[in-house]
């Protein structure tokens, strides 16, 4: 609990015959972090290459199907946001028969062919729809022309052009074309006027140039048959058919997605796990008939792991357990009772401890909820927070959310206790509306007292860190760090304490202590010298935020109550008043829960940790199957 788990080195040597069973068992146990070995030995031997290739190929196919089906999955999912939020994720349901290379192969063979066919059909339909839409937009401007477009062709001596021109330029166009032998077929139009121009081929170039100048927009004469109206009607009809066909396919895809998604996800996970097992074997060293696994293992897991390995190898594996020595790369594994495990989240968010360092998790577990509670100090908000925490634990599966929920639950207890102590329920709600007040004293009107209280808590917290730092330095026999990092603070504090409690009588002694403290800082090789006193002073004052945030919570709550209360006089006013009370308290709750969390965290990370904690270890990452979609047996 006070230090990270002790680690050992493990080395397993066994015959290839037991290889698959041992690897499988280790993957299930998840107690060993594999180490890459130098001199991996037997050249040219790649174990399980064929199996790996099979799995990789299958995985790629499964992913292909998944990629294509997953966009259709949301279409199948029904229900409102509220329902989504309130519904716990169902345990995975999948066909366990497909979870083998042969089974997966069989399953994918049918499915991927079917999905590919649907996909191709969908693609064809979409491109045809695009073509239809293109024709429709092109013909749209020509609707008034009652001409069969298949006749718009160049002949031996004539040419024809189809297009549109802005209504304003139409007269100009007619004027310009007078000099040529052309026939203009046209129709009225509001903004643009459709045109069919027939002329002599020898004048084609000049006519085209003239048209371009005026801003004539040519419509390419595709091989369309019928008048623009007929074409439009035909294509509209075609579009309806195509769209309904497309929707049918989409529906089928959605149905397939709904039915197969869980299976596909399960299969993919299974294949990934298999692949991981193959990949891990790159780290083994090999001889012709044996293999060697090396890794780190938490000392507590040695016995059970060795026993399991002996069983699966029928006693034919040689297992050597060794001390880790002064290796710098030893992974760090938390070793905490389950009650404080959630707080590992906060330790990890700063930095994993080094292997030889204290694990501050238990201290965070002790102090964090208290700080959080002080900063929120409201019974009603505390109850709200407890409910929120309970919901998070109930609804979400991920480790992070579970941990966060538990941290908030612990914090809510302090919030309620302190809220009750200082008589704060939705701020001054009961006092303001019912005239009921309780609590030891109101921090809002005795902020000086509360400030003192906050700083004292801060000094206790800081000195706890200081004591721990001193203990650690003594343990490591690091006198230099002891003097330069801790001793000067001790001298300073004793000096200040003497001055504070005994007064002038000891002022000379105090002065000597202060001077000694400054002398140490002047000698300190790195850092900013005596200015560090300033930063220590800043650290202690920083705990004033405990009070600041709790006052902010109360202050905003009082403001909300006041505004709400003012409106409660009339019926319409009461409606607004209730909305303001509700909205205001929810808002206040939200920002102050966030604020309390962040600031409690910060007091630990910045002020507390600077006294003793560095971090920078590498987290233990065992060879272990991570299951989400294949958790329980399935059906």
């Amino acid at each position: 609990m006070f230090y990270p788990a002790k680690m050992k080195k493990i080395c397993v040597v066994a015959l290839d015959r037991y290889r698959d069973r041992i690897v499988e068992r280790l993957h299930v146990l998840g107690t060993i972090e594999l180490l890459e070995q130098e001199n991996r030995g037997y050249e040219g031997r790649v174990y399980g290459e064929k199996g790996r290739e099979q799995v990789t190929g299958l995985l790629r196919r499964a992913e292909e199907v998944l990629d294509f089906l997953s966009p259709f999955e949301t279409v199948a999912g029904k229900g409102s946001i509220l329902k989504m939020l309130l519904e716990r994720p169902a345990p995975p349901v999948f066909d366990s028969g497909i979870l083998s290379v042969a089974g997966g192969n069989n399953y994918l063979r049918g499915l991927s062919g079917r999905v590919r066919r649907l996909r191709e059909r969908l693609g064809r339909l979409e491109s045809e729809l695009e073509r239809v839409d293109l024709v429709l937009t092109e013909v749209q401007g020509l609707l008034g022309l009652d001409v069969d477009l298949s006749r718009v062709r160049d002949t031996e001596h004539t040419f024809s052009v189809l297009g549109r021109v802005l209504a304003d330029s139409f007269e100009e166009l007619k004027k310009q074309l007078v000099t040529f032998d052309v026939t203009i077929v046209t129709d009225v139009g509001e903004e643009e006027i459709p045109l069919l121009i027939l002329g002599l081929k020898k004048q084609k170039e000049e006519v085209t140039k003239t048209l371009e100048k005026i801003g004539f927009k040519k419509v390419p004469a595709r091989s369309l048959k019928g008048t623009p109206k007929e074409i439009t009607a035909k294509n509209l009809e075609r579009r309806t058919t195509l769209t309904s066909e497309k929707n049918a396919i989409k529906k089928e895809l959605a149905k397939t997605a709904e039915k197969e998604m869980q299976n596909l996800l399960a299969l993919r996970e299974y294949l990934e796990i298999q692949l991981e097992k193959y990949e891990a074997q790159r780290l083994f060293s090999e001889t012709k008939r044996t293999f060697t696994i090396e890794g780190y293992i938490p000392a507590k897991k040695v016995e059970s792991t060795v026993k399991e390995l002996k069983t699966v190898s029928e006693g034919h594996a040689t297992i050597i357990i060794d001390e880790t020595g002064a290796d710098k790369n030893i992974p760090v594994h938390f070793d905490n009772p389950s009650l404080i495990q959630p707080f590992q989240l906060l330790t990890r968010a700063y930095a994993m401890p080094k292997y030889t360092e204290v694990d501050p998790t238990w201290l965070i577990a002790l102090w964090f909820p208290l700080f959080f509670g002080i900063m929120l100090t409201d019974m009603a908000y505390g109850i709200g927070l407890f409910l929120l925490a309970w919901f998070m634990i109930w609804r979400f599966e991920s480790q992070g959310m579970q941990d966060l929920g538990k941290i908030l639950a612990f914090s809510s207890i302090w919030t309620i206790i302190l809220g009750a102590t200082f008589g704060s329920v939705f701020g001054n709600f009961f006092q303001s509306f019912f005239g009921i007040s309780f609590g030891v004293f109101d921090p809002l009107f005795r902020a000086d007292l509360a400030l003192l209280f906050a700083i004292i808590i801060g000094l206790i917290h800081l000195n706890l860190g200081l004591a721990l730092g001193i203990k650690e330095k003594l343990r490591k026999r690091d006198q230099k760090a002891l003097v330069f990092e801790h001793l000067w603070i001790v001298l300073l504090e004793i000096g200040a304490g003497l001055l504070l409690f005994l007064g002038r009588r000891v002022s000379i002694l105090s002065a000597i202590l202060f001077l000694a403290s400054i002398a140490i800082l002047l000698k300190k090789p790195e850092g900013v010298g005596p200015l560090e006193i300033n930063s220590f002073f800043g650290s202690s004052l920083s705990y004033a935020r405990l009070l600041a945030l709790s006052l902010a919570t109360t202050g905003i709550a009082i403001a909300v109550n006041e505004i709400g209360g003012m409106l409660l006089g009339s019926f319409v006013g009461a409606l607004f008043g209730v909305v303001i009370l509700l909205g205001g308290h929810i808002f206040n709750f939200a920002i102050n829960v966030f604020g309390a969390f962040v600031h409690s965290m910060r007091l630990h990370y910045v002020e507390f940790f600077s006294m003793f904690y560095e971090g920078g270890g590498r987290e233990f990452s065992p060879f272990k199957a991570k299951r989400r979609y294949t958790k329980k047996g399935g059906n």
Partner: protein
């Protein structure tokens, strides 16, 4: 209503103390938070440290707050 100029000045002084301190710390916090978000979007594990750095700047506001309280209650 009592017209105590001394009290009025105290309140104005407290307001100035917290107001300017919060202004400066707000500007600083904006920059620090922006940088923090930048770092977190590339390295998620920076989340904790970024939050701590963003609130680091708030210490100045806290000093302002402490001074304000001292003005109002102690002096």
């Amino acid at each position: 209503m009592a017209t105590d100029i001394g009290l009025g000045l105290k309140i104005v002084g407290a307001g100035i103390a917290i107001g300017f301190a919060a202004l400066g710390s707000g500007i600083g916090q904006g920059t620090a938070a922006a940088a923090g978000i930048g770092a977190v979007s590339e390295k998620e594990e920076m989340m904790g440290k970024s939050l701590a750095f963003a609130t680091l700047v708030e210490t100045q506001a806290i000093y302002g707050f402490v001074i304000a309280i001292l003005i109002l209650f102690v002096i």
